[in-house]
């Protein structure tokens, strides 16, 4: 398969959140602000891409009995590396993100792609697959956070959009609103897919 096709498939056709319903916890937690969503998306993309490549590089050496343990170890390694890097070189971003960076370890998408793709494919293809899945994840996070931040705070990326007259909808800052928005997004995509399939 061509690399562009691998990217397209993991980012859009098999989007982790909308199609595979993975990574929901973080999608609920961080999508109240666009900035958090973007940084979380970039962190996941970086971790996912490099974890996939590393797991693929040593896929023939990993014993099947400890396969998942080794994969988790690799993921944790990259997450801690991201955390250390942010603390040393982008301390303000690290300060704003707080505990979110550590939460990347628990993202099911990473383990899912390592199991489904990186364990069976060469390193470069796995890297592209990781970048694609991370990009798809980031786009969905940004879409949900756009609605939540705009209606919840009247801002986008912290900049006032709706003015002082706007009374923020508190529900949009709470996790349940992400549930509703995510369900709405899945419904729209699935409806579009079934319409396209019936034509």
């Amino acid at each position: 398969m061509k690399k562009i096709e691998i990217f397209r498939q993991s980012a859009f056709k098999e989007n982790a959140i909308i199609i595979q319903i993975l990574g929901i916890c973080s999608a609920l937690a961080v999508t109240n602000l666009m900035q958090n969503s973007l940084v979380m998306g970039l962190g996941v993309t970086f971790t996912l891409a490099l974890s996939s490549m590393t797991a693929s590089l040593i896929r023939n050496l990993i014993p099947s009995r400890v396969r998942m343990m080794a994969q988790t170890f690799i993921i944790a390694f990259y997450v801690i590396l991201v955390d250390l890097f942010l603390k040393a070189f982008l301390p303000e971003v690290s300060r704003q993100l707080g505990p979110y960076v550590g939460l990347i370890i628990t993202n099911c998408i990473i383990m899912g792609r390592l199991e489904a793709f990186a364990g069976k494919n060469p390193p470069l293809e796995s890297l592209v697959d990781g970048i694609g899945a991370g990009t798809g994840y980031t786009l969905i996070l940004l879409t949900i956070s756009f609605v939540r931040e705009l209606f919840g705070n009247g801002t986008l990326f912290g900049y006032k959009i709706l003015g002082e007259w706007w009374i923020g909808w508190s529900i949009m800052s709470l996790a349940p609103s992400a549930f509703f928005l995510l369900a709405l997004l899945i419904w729209i995509v699935e409806s579009h897919k079934s319409k396209a399939g019936s034509k």
Binding site: N32, R65, L84, F85, A88, G98, S170, S173
Partner: protein, 225 residues
């Protein structure tokens, strides 16, 4: 059967594999940590000093809000070293606080406090006047509250409203009422964040409780004993 397959089927192979993987990955992390730790510590110290000076920026000559953000490490350190003295509270000396002066004139004290929030510890710096009766300002230095809700305790308006609030009249400690976010600012009242009562109350009650504890430890304002 290839030699690699034969090796993988040995009972000890998974143990050895995980051991080698652990050694390699943790060594890389340890190396990165070692190389970056001075940089991280330097930033944390700078950030702390900038926050502390920021609480007294109206009282310390020659700085204002705009140029504090633009100051480099040397300038921050120079102001900090000339204005701030680290002190310890008697009798056990385990509580650190800071005495702040403008030239030779004492302008206030600063206390680092920690309190429980909704999800974790909230840390802040509290600046109080020389009489130990009025807040000069607070600065949230670390918190893990819900972003967009309790996390808004770090917003400027929330922190700035504490300045000028009296917390002690004689030996009596005052309490502050929590009022809705959109209310008109009032004396002895704190505008709480909508949808984040617990975080707002944690900061307000925690701050008052810590100040009372400090006072009960018999720290005479203006004394370093």
């Amino acid at each position: 059967m290839s030699s690699r397959t034969a090796l993988k089927e040995k009972r000890l192979y998974p143990v050895l594999f995980m051991l080698i993987l652990s050694i390699i990955l943790t060594s890389i992390l340890a190396l990165f940590f070692e190389l970056s730790k001075e940089r991280v510590a330097a930033y944390q110290e700078l950030s702390f000093r900038r926050d502390l000076i920021g609480l007294f920026q109206k009282q310390i000559s020659g700085i204002d809000n705009s140029n504090l953000a633009m100051m480099d490490i040397k300038q921050i350190n120079s102001i900090y070293e000339s204005a701030v003295t680290e002190l310890h509270i008697a009798p056990k000396q385990e509580i650190i606080y800071y005495q702040v002066k403008d030239g030779n004139q004492l302008i206030g004290f600063c206390y680092p406090f920690s309190m429980s929030g909704l999800w974790g510890t909230i840390s802040l710096l509290a600046a109080v006047d020389v009489d130990f009766s009025t807040i000069m300002g607070i600065r949230i230095t670390n918190q893990n509250e819900t972003p967009g809700l309790g996390g808004r305790i770090s917003e400027d308006w929330f922190q700035q409203q504490f300045a000028g609030h009296r917390f002690r009249a004689g030996n009596e400690f005052l309490t502050w009422e929590l009022i809705p976010e959109k209310s008109v600012p009032q004396k002895e009242a704190i505008r709480q964040i909508t949808g984040a009562t617990i975080s707002s109350r944690s900061v307000t009650d925690g701050l008052l409780m810590r100040l009372k504890q400090i006072y009960q430890l018999q720290v005479p304002a203006g004394s370093d004993k």
